[in-house]
Symmetry: C2
């Protein structure tokens, strides 16, 4: 007897025989779970969470009884609280029914190699947090001034700082630090107005963390505030994916669970951020307390969820957020584990779903300072567009969904070893060849490539190639009349194209791209394309001078493939620029220069927000854009590589 098992957040699913352990199942389905102790129930690293509730869409009811019971040995490894929250060890827990499993970030293996690595950014160093060394006169009976007043005088005398206050936590440490260090100490001062830390002796280390909260992926950059250098980069899945893949489902969750939903979602992202904070600090050899400030970008929904603000109203007309401007909140007040008196600086947001991440892109790419017209596409679960130049800037948000990042794709997986990353299809034989991460060679259809799945960028590759080779029709349907044993009707009657035969994989299963995958990509690219079209009309332009593709995933997308499937309007390919994780770069820029924060607030207010859904012709434009290059005329730059008209 077999049961269905689904793994979140990857969305991978499949059938496994009754009695299979969750760990075994994960391996068969290409889901990565840590298990360094070799199933000895010692390390506890393979913790997974059994998600409760019904999943009517899939016809699955999950409950604890669909798993083998916990024995004493497992209970020893797990904390009581964990057991209560349905956490299990994947290595020993056996499947006895349909089940939905959430693999927490900490239990996932496979380094994310989608480049969230930091690009070099040029910015003058003018951080909000600075360190000042002072030597204080020791108190005596004739000079019994309080410790802080003593520090205040020294900071005024030696560094010209006036009207200082001191954070509660720093004050608590001051008496001991002063006396331990013989009154020689380093004060960490925020905005030249508040002492937020005191350390004994002379300390120059001054670090901050720039964070980009994406709907699916979060990235953080531990940054040296003295040099601008990135000391460590950490990324993780946004743990809120367990509440839904896109922001709309998370907002819905908040609305349906009025008293607890928002708190849960806020708690979840804060917990995730704290893991990232701890990992980044550890990686670079610091304590979390060494992180004196954090800057955060994210779309408006993520912004509200992070701050614990009801996101309901920014999702409906007239799309007003609770706060447009940037804000500083003491880390301790909402449980972010950096320096307790340190601040979290949340960048300003624009409107609708166009949030601080987009403002980050503006800081990084600066279309507002250019004469030429830029079209900036920030590709994520929520795609954001900017169109304009120094005279005028428009922005909009497109609900692309997570498909472009490889989620909700039948064989989608993270860009980790075993993931297919490049695909070519011979338009004559319709035979594919592909490359797998961790292997230099292209496949030949015979060799076992140990493929496990397809990463985000390769999905676009694959679909573009399928279209170019005539496997897909203009409307996106798999053309079943095309003769190839790779084109077939799959299980559940879904047409599919076999990319890798079972014997080429490590998951003992053919890897396919199916009709559903194509539809998901069509929806995503249609959203982006129609957004571009409407924005261009709004700005009154027929073309743009440069196309900037932002987003960590964006950087890995093949620009030809993306244009071929119609992700964005035609333009000379040499005008297409990958600008990396511009949102994250913006967070770093704001971390390093306070003038840029001011600039961010100004530009955020200048951008005009276009709510696509309110445009009269939105449905028409979207419908058209769902098609594969619907008008060949619109893609003059692709003429040579477009498929033969069938």
């Amino acid at each position: 007897m077999e049961h269905t098992i689904i793994f979140q957040p990857s969305g991978r699913r499949g059938q496994v025989p009754e009695g299979t352990t969750i760990l075994e199942a994960s391996r068969r389905l290409g889901v990565e779970i840590e298990a360094p102790c070799g199933e000895q129930m010692v390390c506890g690293k393979c913790r997974v969470k059994v998600m409760e509730g019904n999943f009517p869409k899939e016809g699955i009811t999950s409950s604890m009884s669909h798993l083998s019971p916990q024995d004493e040995k497992e209970l020893k490894v797990l904390e009581r609280k964990e057991s209560e929250e349905n956490v299990r060890l994947a290595c020993v827990t056996k499947v006895y029914g349909d089940i939905l499993i959430f693999v927490p970030e900490g239990s996932r293996t496979g380094k994310q190699i989608v480049s969230k690595a930091a690009r070099k950014i040029k910015v003058k160093l003018k951080p909000a947090v600075r360190k000042y060394y002072v030597e204080l006169p020791e108190p005596n009976l004739d000079d019994p001034l309080g410790d802080f007043e003593r520090l205040e005088e020294a900071l005024a005398k030696d560094h010209g700082l006036k009207k200082l206050t001191i954070d509660y936590r720093a004050l608590q440490k001051l008496p001991d630090v002063a006396r331990q260090s013989d009154w020689k100490m380093t004060a960490t001062v925020w905005m030249d107005r508040e002492v937020i830390r005191v350390e004994p002796g002379k300390v120059e280390t001054n670090i901050g963390l720039a964070v980009d909260i994406g709907s699916t992926t979060c990235a953080s950059y531990l940054t040296d505030l003295n040099t601008g250098e990135v000391l460590a980069t950490e990324s993780m899945m946004n743990p809120q994916v367990r509440y839904g893949d896109d922001v709309m489902s998370r907002i819905t969750y908040c609305m349906l669970n009025e008293n607890t939903g928002l708190k849960e979602l806020q708690g979840t992202i804060i917990e995730g951020l704290n893991t990232m904070v701890a990992n980044a600090a550890k990686k670079a050899g610091f304590t979390t307390e060494d992180i004196s400030e954090m800057t955060v970008v994210g779309n408006t929904a993520q912004h509200h969820l992070l701050l614990g603000i009801n996101p309901e109203f920014m999702g409906v007309a007239p799309f007003t957020p609770a706060l447009h401007a940037s804000t500083d909140i003491k880390a301790e007040r909402f449980g972010i584990n950096i320096l307790p008196g340190g601040n979290v600086h949340v960048l300003p947001i624009e409107a609708g779903f166009v949030g601080a991440d987009n403002v980050g892109c503006l800081l990084a790419d600066e279309p507002q300072k250019r004469k030429e017209i830029t079209l900036l596409i920030d590709i994520g679960t929520n795609g954001e567009l900017i169109l304009g130049n120094k005279d005028k800037l428009l922005s909009c948000s497109c609900a692309t969904g997570p498909a472009l990042e490889g989620a909700q794709i039948e064989f989608g997986m993270r860009a980790a070893p075993g993931a297919i990353e490049r695909i070519k299809i011979d338009e004559k034989t319709l035979e594919p060849t592909y490359r797998v991460i961790g292997n230099e060679n292209w496949s030949d259809g015979k060799t076992n490539m140990k493929a496990k799945g397809i990463c985000g960028s390769a999905i676009i590759d694959g679909i573009a190639e399928m279209f170019r080779a005539g496997i897909l029709k203009k409307n996106g349907n798999v053309d079943m009349e095309v003769k190839s044993d790779r084109i077939r009707m799959g299980e559940k009657g879904v047409a599919e194209y076999v990319l890798a035969w079972k014997h080429e994989t490590s998951i003992d299963h053919d890897i396919v791209i199916n009709q559903k995958d194509v539809r998901a990509i069509q929806l995503a690219k249609g959203a982006l394309y129609s957004g571009c079209v409407i924005m261009m009309r709004k700005l009154g332009v027929k073309s743009f001078d440069r196309l900037a593709i932002a987003g960590a995933f964006g950087s890995h997308i093949d620009k030809v493939a993306a244009m071929l499937i119609g992700m964005y309007p035609d333009c000379p390919l040499d005008k297409v620029e990958y600008v990396g994780n511009a949102a994250g770069d913006g967070a770093r820029i704001a971390l390093l220069n306070i003038d840029k924060r001011k600039e961010a607030n100004e530009v955020a207010r200048r951008v005009e927000y276009v709510e696509l859904a309110l445009e009269e012709d939105f449905n028409d434009r979207f419908g058209e854009a769902m098609q594969f290059p619907h008008m060949v005329d619109e893609f003059p730059h692709l003429k040579d590589i477009l498929p033969p008209v069938k």
Copy 2:
């Protein structure tokens, strides 16, 4: 068989037969414990805490095994955490060994009638927190400004407020409040610069809480910030008494328990304050969230303990505190349950143990604005003195101990019904007559007055009378040669004077004042008197123009009796003024007027601190002052009532 039982914080102790319940024992010893359900184990109001550890001074070892075990019924009433923390129900727990019991504030009956009631104060209303009503234009697609920016514009337009920020918690509520109230709302603004609350509709209620943290007693005044009116007064024992009666023992506790002591002490006072906050709000019909600000005064040790700052260094030369100036801390940051975004304004401190409470006295009594020289004595567990006028002010702190407040006195108790509050002794017959709180009549030695103990002010009365009647010698010894059946050698060989015979009491025991009580009062008054003498020498004056007695207990002390025992130097009796709880009044003044906060910071820095212990002749002066009026010449104003020289 009998066992010794001691009740904290009253310090009452006695022998009870084995098998007596704690509740019964408390009644016999005049300790008040709530028990409204009649020992049915239903209400749980008689919770007491069994304190662990050895008490070598008393030769008592307390442990759980000295009590009857818990049964199921008791366990049902108590929470598991309470049981673990040795909380028991007094009504059913029986004594099977020597034991020390702490009666928490919530379990004590008997209204504290020592007036912590608020005096009328004159102060211009200029509170830090104000309420502003605004009607916001509803957002639409052409005006999609964020909620806060919308509020900001309205507050600027209607009330001239500029450069506002908004507190994190207020921001969280803003979207819902705006839409619930049709964009008509009231913003609570702190210092005209931060929105700390938003409420639907027009709200005028604007309240704050002024708190005086004494070593033994804490008082709080719920105050209407629009009118200055006191809406409710709450007082409680400082729950830190379980760590020691005076601040030095609490500081020692912190030092001996390096990692946990300070946190425990801070947690204890915060928990206590929260009880007071909740009671005050409830009494006046508000929620705790309605309290927008809190001002706090207390001595330097209490100041540091409240803020979680190591108090070690301010207790040793050169007596430097961590911070002299006032400070504002968000209530939420240290767990004070008022409006989460509201501030706790802690008044500035002077030096040594002369803290914010003394600054409060300065705000209330304003000796710094007078031409005449004031001697201000703030009587508490830590007595604080101010001497001076507009030209110069000296301050010092005297470790009086809790005896003047009736603690650590054999039959001392709170000023509650049953407490002896006034005493007279006939100098011929040596027979006393006394009055009991709750009874208009004076005692006659026969009637059952249902006396339970002696309250603080009556102790001073009693000792002054004993001295006047010749029962006490100048050195404070009970004169055993005086013939009276009331003068006798008590248990354990301690001389005593019987104030009330067993049949006059409700505790089935003679009530006495014994030699130990006299010693405790001698130490306290000696500390105050020698402090006055040294301060006068320092200021270069031989007399003062007015004597202000501050402190809630101080207000109930008979000024003649107090001068008679030598608590302060001689002066015309009509120059003695009771100024009530001036420290608490100062907290109220600061709550109502922000200019006064500035004034407080200025005057706190002007006061010159005198560290008595560093004065060469301190021991001599203190030794002399321990005597009863050591030089009759020093008390010309008492000539008529001084005892005959024996």
